[in-house]
Amino acid sequence: MRLAERHGPVLSGRTAAMALRKELEQELAEGGVAVLDFAGVEAISPSFADEVFGRFVARAGKDQVRFENLSGHLVNVERMVRRRSRAVSGRPALP
């Protein structure tokens, strides 16, 4: 899935991210691996990052998700969200 083609160069909005997460989870339920292509993505908001790099990966399992074309700062963002996600893994489950 090419995120910039769908959302533009800026990935923002918790609502949009939640819709994306649910779509991806549906795809995973039908079998396969979720591949998210970040080519053309210039920026990501904290909420979108939390939803995609944190909550989606936590629910799907890191072996079921692959990120491609993460640019310099997005790599750092993904690492940070993943670190926080592990640190707060005891937080309440998503509805």
Partner: protein, 206 residues
């Protein structure tokens, strides 16, 4: 022209409208526009997800002769103290006084809805504007927090703010270093253990 929004269906349009207004008044480069886009979405969504405001929120943009721009977002919802008090981890801090509630809400990882939010939006916005040399003003109830070149945190019981006001002042002749803001957010978020923050509030409350 002020924009009114009542739910999340219009938020992308409102964000685009604000950015277009800013573009008409200042020559923002693409990186600055991207950074502002991310902050605006966070602040607008705070109204939708936290304010519980029947009439949604209103945004406005003002240009100053100094070349600075200010984007304000206001709602007449429940306010930060009442919203934050919904999270038992921060209820003591949220109900101590309105200033403590607003200050707490601006700490990374603090949110009234941990099942839905990471609690980074206000902190990220503060960092981005700080790097720009601008400022972030957050007022809710008697809580008044201004962060930027000057820090002004005070309890304003004479003129409490109904609901919540967030005002972002931007210096248009300086960069909005969005990726550096993310780096700083990571550093600050890692240094704040929200369990300590919550436990601290419980310890002090006895």
């Amino acid at each position: 022209m002020p924009e009114h929004f009542i739910d999340d269906s219009k938020l992308r349009d409102v964000t685009r409208s604000i950015l277009d207004t800013i573009d008409s008044k200042a020559d923002l480069d693409a990186a600055a526009r991207y950074g502002l886009d991310t902050c605006l979405s966070e602040m607008l969504e705070n109204v939708i997800f936290h304010a519980d405001a029947a009439n949604g929120g209103v945004t406005a943009v003002q240009a100053f002769a100094s070349g600075e721009l200010e984007v304000a977002i206001v709602d007449l919802g429940v306010g930060i103290p009442a919203s934050l008090a919904l999270n038992p981890d921060y209820a003591d801090l949220a109900t101590r006084d309105d200033l403590t509630a607003v200050q707490t809400a601006m700490v990374p990882n603090v949110t009234s809805t941990p099942w839905r939010n990471a609690g980074w939006g206000l902190a990220f916005t503060e960092l981005l504007l700080g790097l720009n040399g601008g400022r972030l003003l957050v007022r809710s109830g008697a809580g008044h927090v201004m962060r930027g070149a000057k820090i002004v945190d005070r309890l304003d019981t004479d003129q409490p703010q109904p609901g919540t006001l967030v005002a972002m002042r931007i210096k248009t002749d300086r960069p909005l270093d969005y990726s550096r803001a993310w780096d700083l957010l990571a550093e600050v978020a890692d240094s704040v253990d929200h369990n300590d923050l919550a436990n601290g509030s419980r310890d002090e409350a006895g």
